[in-house]
């Protein structure tokens, strides 16, 4: 559909087939700036591109831009595979995404403040109470706790896909401890080193001030009136696969990177263990899940958390970002209600629609799912990272029957969605430049107001025809270019 005879250089044989191409868009509506990119892409040979890709990968190892896979005896550093051909979003496309995310984050925060407070949404029958109270991520400890500015979700990563018609759809909200933003910034820095001439004449928006914006938002949420609140980033430690990102963000913000064992709670106040004794902490950007935060309240066996942290939090002596208990809002079942929640809280239609979602917990959804399972994607409600997802059209008969049995046994644990023909992007593959499916995770920060980093993590399914972009399932990433509005627009 997108292959056209006049194309030369790298994209000569590229054909996105029936899918929407992120770089070339629709032939009916060509973007002038995209033509520049295409032209600049055509000045480089595939061999040269491969050399630069190899150099970039080496660069990542040298800089330790890696995630670490630990086994019994060895620590293996892996890089998140990076593809040098960027994914481009025009100013108009970005406007839609940005507005949609701001709207969504607002609704998520209002929803959380409501269910941990007055619970109007349940009384008004907008969402079944069982979905909220029966959710393991609903934290009773949070009921009545005052959260600064009503910001439960200070950092949000929204997973967005694009269907064959080019429409953006929200696939998932990540409102607990979303990761990946360091790759957005590192990918750009690497891209500028590896292929600086590709940027020539193209007005790409910077992604460099994420750290400063995050620090500012955390300061705005601080419980003290101190001009310079003591902020720390709480990490599970060097053995966590996202440790690189924790280091990166601590450095970008200029705040200490701490582990649970570096903090202690006395008198419902949180202190940092330093070489000079204890120092008070005001705000914690925590990258530890709720379950591990405080062994006195949540998992007793956690050695990553801080005993007494919840007590200090409930007393209002320390602020946590994100708040405890946000996981109830980014759940796959609650997701299905997001358009209705947006209408309920904001009196607006969702700017970014959901992918149609059938809840097996509801009789209608269950019947539909079982009847059409071959054409649906079935997902377990609790899991993340692409685990347990069954794509009907790709699954064997046995796999389908197995999933069907699981659904019947525990319908509340499953949702189903139609297969979205995810958009593609030209990607350097073994046999040349080929289309590969991508998604997009922009990051939004909320202090007094919500700001969306102009860019995002574009994950790419490197395996041919694969729709699963997760790094744990063979995914890589690309630099994401959000363009400034063109003068003509």
């Amino acid at each position: 559909m997108n292959a056209s005879p006049h194309r030369s250089g790298l994209l000569r044989d590229y054909d996105s087939g029936k899918f929407y191409c992120e770089l070339l868009g629709s032939p009916a509506n060509p973007q002038p700036v995209v033509e520049i990119i295409e032209r600049q892409l055509s000045t480089i040979s595939e061999e040269e591109l491969r050399n630069r890709a190899a150099a970039a990968e080496n660069d990542m190892f040298d800089h330790g831009v890696t995630f670490t896979v630990y086994s019994d005896k060895s620590a293996i550093d892996r890089v998140f595979p990076f593809d040098l051909i960027p994914r481009v979003l025009t100013a108009n496309e970005w406007n839609v995404i940005e507005a949609g995310i701001i709207q969504r984050v607002a609704a998520l925060n209002l929803f959380l403040a409501d269910i941990y407070g007055p619970k109007h949404v349940l009384r008004d029958g907008i969402i079944p109470a069982s979905l909220v109270f029966g959710n393991p991520n609903f934290r009773r400890e949070m009921e009545g706790v005052k959260v600064a500015n009503g910001v439960y979700v200070a950092i949000c990563g929204t997973d967005i896909v694009r269907d064959q018609s080019g429409r953006f759809l929200v696939l998932e909200d990540n409102a607990r401890t979303p990761s990946g933003v360091s790759y957005v910034i590192e990918n750009r820095r690497m891209m500028l080193r590896a292929w600086p001439e590709l940027f020539e004449g193209i007005p790409v928006r910077s992604v460099d001030n994420y750290g400063a914006m995050l620090r500012q938002a955390l300061a705005e949420l601080s419980p003290t009136s101190a001009a310079d609140p003591h902020i720390v980033l709480l990490s599970p430690g060097t053995y966590n696969s996202a440790y690189f990102e924790h280091v990166f963000l601590a450095r970008e913000m200029g705040v200490p990177l701490v582990e649970g064992r570096d903090l202690t709670v006395t008198d419902s106040k949180v202190y940092l263990r330093t070489i000079a004794g204890l120092r008070r902490v005001d705000t914690i950007y925590r990258r530890i899940d709720d379950d591990f935060l405080d062994p006195r309240v949540f998992r007793k066996d956690s050695i990553l958390g801080v005993p007494g942290l919840m007590e200090a939090y409930v007393a209002g002596n320390v602020q946590l970002a994100n708040a405890v208990g946000t996981g109830v809002a980014d759940d796959k079942a609650v997701y299905a209600y997001m358009p209705r929640l947006i209408r309920y809280y904001l009196q607006q239609d969702a700017i970014l629609p959901n992918v149609d979602t059938h809840l097996c917990a509801e009789a209608e959804g269950l019947a539909y799912t079982l009847a059409n399972i071959e054409n649906l994607v079935v997902k377990p409600v609790g899991a993340s990272g692409g685990y347990g997802v069954m794509i009907g059209s790709r699954a064997s008969k046995a796999e389908i029957e197995d999933t069907r049995a699981q659904i019947v046994a525990d319908p509340g644990n499953f949702i189903s969605q139609p297969v979205v023909g995810l958009s593609v992007c030209p990607t350097l593959c073994t046999d040349g430049i080929e289309p590969r499916h991508v998604d997009l995770r922009p990051f939004a920060i909320t202090g007094r107001q919500t700001w969306v980093l102009p860019g995002g993590l574009t994950r790419v399914a490197l395996r041919k025809n694969s729709l699963v972009v997760n790094s744990s399932q063979g995914g890589g990433s690309k630099d994401t270019w959000v363009l400034f509005p063109e003068a003509a627009e």
């Binding site: 190892f61 800089h63 630990y70 060097t238 990177l257 263990r273 000079a276």
Partner: protein, 325 residues
Amino acid sequence: MLLARHAEAAFWMARYVERAENLARLLDVQQVFARDSRDPVSWRSILVLNSDESRFFENQTSADRAAVTQFYVLDQENPTSIISAIRNARENARALRPLISTEMWTQLNIFHRRLHALSPDDLSDARLSRTCTMVKEGCQAHTGITEGTFFRDESWYFYSIGRWLERADQTTRLLDIKYHQLLPRGADVGSAFDIGQWNSVLRSAAGYYAYRRVHSRAMSPATIAGFLLHNRAFPRSVALCLNDMDRTLHDLRSRYRLRGGVAALERIDELQAELNGRTVEQILGAGLHEFLDMFQKGLGLVTADIAREFFHHEEVVAQMASQSQ
């Protein structure tokens, strides 16, 4: 104010790199010894020196060059090998990444990978010296990059103290190797052959020409040992390391108004008194090995003091966990 855990990581990062450099120096000089030596068991002395004999002979029958160098350079299971030291330095650097420069981290990464790429061939008679040089230069690059890029806050002080402490310890070990190798053969002591071996001790500490400037005519075991112990200008002498450790710890306490460190300072003062209160002849007369052994124990106690006073030691915990969306 610096996290206690980060102070500890900085201290140990420096120590591990210093340790790797000194081990490379030791192996390099050992090769010269072994080549000249009529003593076939001389590689064993390094094992004795590091108290590694029993662990080594668990898996080995003979302490020859191939086995000992494999054990000390490439053996990842051996905690006292060069590759283990650099792995540990890198793990500490990983914990310190929010504080150290990107260049420090990058260099340790590349260095660590280069060590991983070594094979037994790189330890052959012909190549061992070159491999030791590569290790030394990797460590020196680390030291230089650190000097030029590491932000000089509290963590830098702990880094520096760790480096001086390890270097003092390693110089005593380098000196001790002489004792272990030659003491049993009284006839050789003071002979021309003996001096040649002392020469190589000096060279392995990069001290040969410095020594020549100070003692242009005489070359005796006593003056060489005295140089390595007492010289105030030689960067690897025990006296200089102690002095810099003492000064750095003083500066750290006064600049950041820290109350900790008193016990460590007192212990360092005692060690300085032990060292400076005796001539090298007195030390040799009473037994060099006994003196060095006492010194190594003293440095171990300084480490314990620092850990107690600044790192607020607790059980170090680590839990493998992957929690992210």
